[in-house]
């Protein structure tokens, strides 16, 4: 071996060491970033977890069936959530029935039918903006429109419609996003066999965007179920010791709508009411209610994730 080639060999080896040192250095940055990211994630999660555990521990004495089957009472230990959770369920039914058809129809129209011009751009900006409007503004709007304007009173209907308005932009935005995810090739394939626009919308667009729409609906509803400000604005009662009339009756036509006009309370309002009592025993009730609201929200979001996964599994392009 000549000394010349030996020298290059040594140079290559030394160079290799330099390269290895460099790779080690770069990998260190990798580890540091991963650690910082994990810390950031943990800070958020742990805060929520601590809050949740704190609520659970404070509210622990109330976690039994009677808490769900009793009306509110002046004695904290006997007070229950019955009127609040029934109210929440009924209000959510109205919200669902108004926000979903209107939101999906509006999203479909904007995406599929509306001509693309400055006006549709303006609507687009406004819809996205609506999703960020503080909820108390919706409460004021509802007070003016539903209560004073339409005379619907401080009822379940008013509350459901108000929360429906609040959920509407979320449903519209998620509908549009889901629709935009459908590839042009699939649409063209449908048109190419002679489908009309409505056939394409009904047989393809709606079917394939179901998962995304559903996710948006549930996430919107899980936000609405915890809303307090707009419900207070429209004057929800806070001490309700009765249930609205049952939507299902024993005589034909087996369904009635009297409950829509009934006074009501909902979970966050009940919690707010208990928190503002001077008697400290009620704080236990409030904590228990808070924990329940968090669990309900988590369950709704979990359902959204599960449904999306299940529907997506059957849709590939």
């Amino acid at each position: 071996m000549t000394s010349e080639s030996l020298k290059t060999k040594v140079a290559v080896l030394e160079n290799l060491d330099v390269v290895r040192a460099m790779i080690r250095r770069h990998k260190r940055s990798d580890i540091i970033f991963a650690a910082v990211g994990l810390l950031a994630l943990m800070l958020g999660l742990l805060t929520l977890l601590t809050l949740f555990l704190d609520l659970v521990m404070d509210g622990y004495p109330r976690f039994n069936l009677t808490f769900f089957s009793e009306f509110p009472s002046r004695r904290a230990a006997n007070a229950g959530l019955l009127s609040a959770w029934v109210g929440s369920v009924l209000v959510m039914i109205v919200t669902f029935l108004t926000a979903v058809p209107m939101g999906v129809a509006a999203g479909l129209y904007l995406e599929e039918y509306a001509p693309k011009n400055w006006f549709s751009d303006l609507i687009e900006i406004n819809v996205s903006n609506l999703a960020g409007v503080p909820s108390i503004i919706y409460g004021l709007l509802a007070l003016g429109l539903f209560i004073y304007g339409l005379g619907l009173g401080e009822s379940i209907l008013t509350a459901g419609l108000t929360l429906g308005l609040l959920t509407l932009p979320v449903v519209i935005v998620s509908t549009r996003e889901a629709i935009r995810g459908i590839p042009v090739a699939i649409r063209e394939a449908a048109y190419a066999v002679g489908a009309t626009k409505w056939q394409v919308v009904k047989d393809h667009v709606v079917k394939y965007s179901q998962g995304g729409i559903l996710t948006g609906v549930i996430i919107g509803m899980s936000r609405a179920i915890g809303e307090t400000a707009p419900i207070i604005t429209i004057g929800a009662l806070t001490f309700i010791a009765f249930l609205p009339p049952s939507p299902i009756s024993e005589v034909a036509p087996f369904i009635n709508f009297e409950w829509l006009g009934s006074g009501f309370t909902v979970l966050p309002i009940q919690m707010f009411n208990w928190l503002s009592r001077p008697d400290h025993a009620f704080a236990t009730n409030a904590a228990a209610t808070g924990a329940i609201i968090i669990v309900v929200t988590l369950m709704m979001n979990g359902t959204a994730i599960y449904l999306r996964y299940k529907i997506r599994k059957n849709i590939k392009w």
Binding site: P183, A185, I186, E188, Y191, A192, V193, A195, K316, W317
Partner: protein, 259 residues
Amino acid sequence: MINATTALKAESRDLNFFYSNGNQALKSVSMPLYENNITALIGPSGCGKSTFLRCFNRMHDLYPGNKYEGQIVMHPDNTNILEAGVDPIEVRMRISMVFQKPNPFPKSIFENVAYGLRVRGEKNKRTVADKVEEALKGAALWNEVKDRQQDLAFNLSGGQQQRLCIARALATDPEIMLFDEPTSALDPIATANIEELMSELKNKLTILVVTHNMQQAARVSDYTAYMYLGELMEYGDTDTIFTRPTRKETEDYITGKFG
């Protein structure tokens, strides 16, 4: 190679096409389409061959602002399918299309093929099932899928998916079938299958195919049109175009000196 019947099935007359941004993509293209023959469109990227193909089923109508000038006349009824009074949906019911990348619906194999029939309001289950079987046989896919027609279409291989798309286009008995680079996303074996299929299909209908593959054009087509920058440079029977092109540009493109 040329079929005995050389009746005219359709022809474009002085066809100009403008995209919504004002670009003129086709310049006075006049070209015949002979019945039960395969006509191939060749030319470098951006020459307007796909644009031309998509005029035949009014695909451009899906996007606002596109404009046709001139005519595409279908025979024997002499309908100008570009006329404002002619519904693009009616045109698509007569002329079906197979796309560049296989684009089955995220539905079952059966529903993919049946969709054209559903769109036409066919409710009779027996008729639909028969038609689906016929179309799958016509697309040489029946033997591979007959026992799993309810499976989702995306479980098929790429070549099978493309044959499924051909079956979907076939199920509605079209008069003309358009193929937009149907094999560009497929491997050589799947490509050979599709080419063989096209040669069989021409007994039933008329085919217009866009291809980037010179050999493919030479192998499957009866007539070839060479397009460049939106103009029809040369048109003739495939043998002549590939062996004795009259224009220098055509020869350069075919021999790979250009494009």
